[in-house]
C-alpha cells in the first residue's frame, strides 16, 4: 500500500511540484495551504510523513510542528522542513520543535524523494 505524505505550503505551484515528484515515486499526497489547515487533517487518518514550509500565513511551519507533536497519534510523525530559510537560527528552531530534517528550496525532485525515502515510516 502506498504511503501517504502530507504536504504543507502556501504556494500552489510549490505544492504542485511536491505532488508531481512524490506521486511519480509512488506516494499518496494530501495537501494543506498553512499549518492550521494541516492540523485539521491530523484527524486520525494514516499519514506516514509531513513536508512543511516555514513561512506561511495563519500558522507557520514551526508552530505546526510543535502542535503536531502534541497529538498522541502523530507524536512520532517524521516532519521534513522544506523552506527558502537557510539561516542556522531557524534550522535550530525547527530541530527544537521536533522536525527530523531541513531542506532548502529550490530542491531537485530526486533529492526530495531520496530524503523522503529515508524518513518515511
Amino acid at each position: 500500500m502506498a504511503k501517504t505524505i502530507l504536504v504543507i505550503d502556501d504556494s500552489d505551484s510549490l505544492r504542485q511540484v511536491f505532488k508531481m515528484a512524490l506521486t511519480g515515486a509512488g506516494y499518496n499526497v494530501i495537501e494543506a495551504g498553512d499549518g492550521k489547515a494541516a492540523l485539521a487533517l491530523l484527524d486520525g487518518r494514516q499519514i506516514n510523513m509531513a513536508i512543511c514550509d516555514v513561512n506561511m500565513p495563519v500558522m507557520n511551519g514551526i508552530e505546526f510542528v510543535k502542535a503536531a507533536k502534541q497529538l498522541a497519534s502523530y507524536k512520532f510523525l517524521p516532519i521534513l522542513m522544506l523552506t527558502t530559510e537557510s539561516q542556522e537560527e531557524k534550522k535550530e528552531q525547527g530541530k527544537a520543535a521536533g522536525a527530523k530534517a531541513w531542506m532548502v528550496k529550490p530542491f531537485s525532485p530526486t533529492q526530495l524523494v531520496s530524503a523522503v525515502s529515508k524518513l518515511c515510516v
Partner: protein, 211 residues
C-alpha cells in the same frame, strides 16, 4: 520638476507614485504565479508519460539484455540449438543454407532492436533529468514572489507613513532593521547589506540536514 527644497511636493510625489509602483509589483507577481502554475499544469500532464517512457525503455533493455531468455541471448540460444543439426552429415545443402539464412535473419533483427533500444533509454533518461531541472527552475517563482511581496508591503508601509504622518520622517535605521527581520533568504540579507552584486542563483546549500 520638484525643487529639492520643497519637501511637501516631494511627499506628494512619493504618495502618488508609490501606490503605482506597488500595483505594478502586485500585477507582476500575480502574472508570474499564473505563468508558472500553467507551465506546471502542462508538466503534470506530460510527467506521467515521461515516467512511463523511462520505465518502458528500462524494461525493453532488461528484456534484451537478460542472460537467460533475453532477446540478445536468443541468437546464441538458436545457434547453440542448431549447431548439432548443422553438423549432421545427413543434412542437405539446401536445409543447411535455409537454417543459416534464418539464423542470419534473427541476428540482424536482434541487432536492429538493440540499436533502437539503447539510444531510446539514453534519451528518456536525459528527458527525465531535464524535467528535474525544470522543476527546480519553477521554484524560483516562489522566491521571487516572496521578495516582491516584501517590497509591496514595504511600499504600502512607506506610503502610509508619508500620508498619515507627513510631519514625522520615519527613522531609516529602525526602518531597515524592521525590514531585515522579514527576510527568509540569504541573498536578501546580502542585498540588504550591499555585499552581493545581483546574484542570479538562489543561495541554497542543496544539502539535506538530518537532525
Amino acid at each position: 520638476m520638484v525643487s529639492p527644497g520643497d519637501p511637501g511636493q516631494l511627499l506628494k510625489l512619493c504618495a502618488g507614485l508609490l501606490p503605482v509602483w506597488g500595483r505594478h509589483l502586485a500585477t507582476s507577481r500575480a502574472q508570474s504565479e499564473v505563468a508558472v502554475s500553467q507551465m506546471l499544469q502542462a508538466f503534470s500532464d506530460i510527467g506521467p508519460h515521461i515516467n512511463m517512457a523511462e520505465r518502458q525503455s528500462e524494461q525493453i533493455n532488461d528484456a534484451l539484455g537478460r542472460h537467460h531468455g533475453g532477446v540478445t541471448g536468443l541468437v546464441g540460444a538458436c545457434e547453440q540449438s542448431l549447431a548439432p543439426v548443422l553438423q549432421d552429415a545427413g543434412l542437405s545443402a539446401s536445409s543447411k543454407a535455409a537454417i543459416e539464412q534464418v539464423l542470419a535473419m534473427v541476428r540482424e533483427a536482434v541487432g536492429l532492436l538493440e540499436q533502437i533500444a539503447r539510444p531510446f533509454q539514453h534519451e528518456t533518461q536525459m528527458v527525465a533529468a531535464q524535467v528535474d531541472r525544470m522543476y527546480m527552475g519553477f521554484q524560483y517563482q516562489d522566491r521571487i514572489s516572496q521578495m516582491m511581496a516584501l517590497l509591496e508591503g514595504d511600499i504600502v508601509k512607506l506610503q502610509s507613513a508619508l500620508c498619515d504622518d507627513a510631519g514625522a520622517v520615519p527613522d531609516l535605521t529602525e526602518w531597515l532593521a524592521q525590514l531585515e527581520t522579514q527576510y527568509a533568504m540569504a541573498e536578501q540579507h546580502k542585498d540588504h547589506a550591499g555585499t552581493d552584486e545581483g546574484g542570479s542563483e538562489a543561495d541554497s546549500d542543496n544539502e539535506t540536514t538530518f537532525f
